[in-house]
């Protein structure tokens, strides 16, 4: 297999991009070298996360969203767009069935769109460990919009919020009452909430319930203006920018493309808000900090693993199992054994 030239990627060569994605996903040396070369060219793309429970229609929504982005009217130049669709790896076999492309047939034949399926490979939280790195490749290759679709898990896939600039949470009618939405924790990460399949019975109820849940947790800008200083006094100042965005709740029907011009308009609004409020900078910082910490953790762990012998580890573990050593003491012993 020939080594991929980073210049080809920067030029947007699709075969080079595709091969690079594989190297990076497999955490090979070549992959890391490519990331080194590409990193200075990143930081330009608008990263849009799409998450929600299984069966809410995430893939179909991504299909329509991408399709509408590519069909801008009035001679405007359509943005180049990449999709990363993550599906779960089977914990039993290590294999995966990646089926998101089935719903993305409308994007076939468009050279401005690149769809890549990705298996979660054992990581939790709705993304794969390498998802952030794949994003870097598309970003460096000049894709202006990168849509990341998470695994449909429902209640805990909040990792996407620290990766994406704008997070869309997809709901559908008939998936449980308001209590589910409070429990989920994914309402808090939504920059835009979508009620997909809004032609189904119960859609009005779902829309209403979500809107009322949001008003409980989010002060509207006019509320802040109205109550002025009192509101601000109770809130830490660095939380203010995010509370100034009030999450819109939009109905869509992905199978026929209804509601998508509105969704794209809201995404543009959100991007505008991020840039003007300084929130963009804040999220970038947070995202890179997350990545740095994860890298640091992995690297430290690998170094430690290389320094500790398997027998020493087993011996310590045996002593913990026989209650001769506490787990806390064991950690100390193992770290000291590696000279850390």
């Amino acid at each position: 297999m020939p080594v991929t030239d980073p210049k080809e990627i920067l030029k947007g060569e699709r075969l080079a991009i595709s091969r690079a994605l594989t190297q990076i996903e497999n955490s090979t040396q070549e992959g890391y070298q490519l990331l080194e070369e590409l990193f200075p060219h990143t930081g330009k793309a608008h990263l849009i996360g799409v998450t929600g429970a299984p069966g809410t229609g995430k893939s179909t929504l991504v299909n329509q969203l991408a399709y509408h982005y590519r069909r801008t009217e009035g001679g405007e130049k359509a943005p180049r767009l990449a999709v990363i669709a993550v599906d779960p790896t089977s914990p039993f076999s290590g294999g995966a069935l990646l089926g998101d492309r089935v719903r993305m047939q409308d994007l076939a034949g468009d050279p401005g769109v690149f769809v890549r399926s990705m298996a979660s490979r054992g990581s939790l939280g709705g993304l794969a460990a390498a998802t952030a790195n794949l994003v870097q490749v598309f970003d460096a290759a000049g894709y202006e919009i990168i849509i990341i679709e998470t695994v449909g898990a429902g209640q805990a896939e909040v990792d996407i919020a620290s990766l994406a600039h704008s997070t869309i949470v997809v709901e559908a009618p008939g998936l449980g009452d308001e209590i589910q939405t409070i429990k989920a924790g994914i309402l808090e990460i939504a920059d835009i909430l979508v009620v997909n399949k809004s032609d189904k019975p119960g859609a009005d109820h779902t829309l209403r319930a979500l809107r009322s849940m949001l008003t409980l947790s989010q002060p509207r800008p006019e509320d802040i203006a109205h109550h002025g200083p009192a509101q601000q006094a109770t809130q830490p100042t660095d939380d203010l920018p995010s509370s100034l965005w009030s999450t819109p709740v939009l109905p869509t029907i992905s199978t026929i493309g209804e509601g998508f011009p509105e969704l794209i308009a809201e995404l543009a609004n959100h991007l505008d808000y991020l840039k003007t409020s300084g929130e963009w900078q804040r999220r970038e910082e947070k995202r890179l900090k997350n990545e740095l910490e994860m890298l640091l953790r992995d690297t430290l762990r690998t170094r430690w693993e290389n320094k500790i012998s398997a027998t020493k580890y087993q011996y310590t573990l045996d002593r913990v199992v026989t209650r001769k050593l506490t787990p806390w003491k064991a950690v100390q012993v193992l770290l000291e054994g590696a000279g850390l």
Binding site: S93, G95, L97, G99, R101, A108, R121, T302
Partner: protein, 133 residues
């Protein structure tokens, strides 16, 4: 840094105009259970769509399922287009009802494996694993 891990990536596509996808699904599932990453594209794929998906997904293997009788038109076309895109290393496998004389011709063309009804999924798994070594 992190451990390198390679997985066999396979594209399973229903080429052309037939809706019989049970076989393709059975194979996709079996390959997944054998630890491969299977990209399933669904029905009515043109050679153009199959080639584009193979390129974007960087698969080592493309598995075509054809039960319409159009294999002598579709398979050479897919083979040719893969080559045009720089994907000549991608192994092509075929499932369907393929007469013996066609089988010989397709194998000459470079199709790595052809499987008819009743084939054990274990055979397909092993052939793919061997082809990807």
């Amino acid at each position: 840094m992190g451990d390198a891990q390679e997985k066999i990536r396979v594209l399973i596509a229903k080429a052309g105009l037939d809706g019989h996808d049970r076989g393709a699904k059975v194979v996709a599932r079996a390959l997944r259970d054998a630890g491969m990453e299977v990209i399933y594209t669904g029905l009515r794929q043109t050679p153009e769509m199959i080639t584009e998906a193979a390129l974007q997904e960087d698969v080592q293997v493309v598995g075509l399922s054809i039960l319409s009788g159009a294999h002598m038109t579709l398979v050479p076309k897919v083979k040719k287009m893969l080559k045009e895109q720089g994907l000549e290393n991608v192994k092509l496998f075929l499932g369907g009802i393929i007469p013996d004389e066609d089988k010989r011709e397709l194998e000459k063309l470079g199709v790595a494996g052809i499987y008819g009804p009743g084939t054990s999924t274990q055979v397909i798994i092993e052939d793919i694993q061997n082809a990807c070594q």
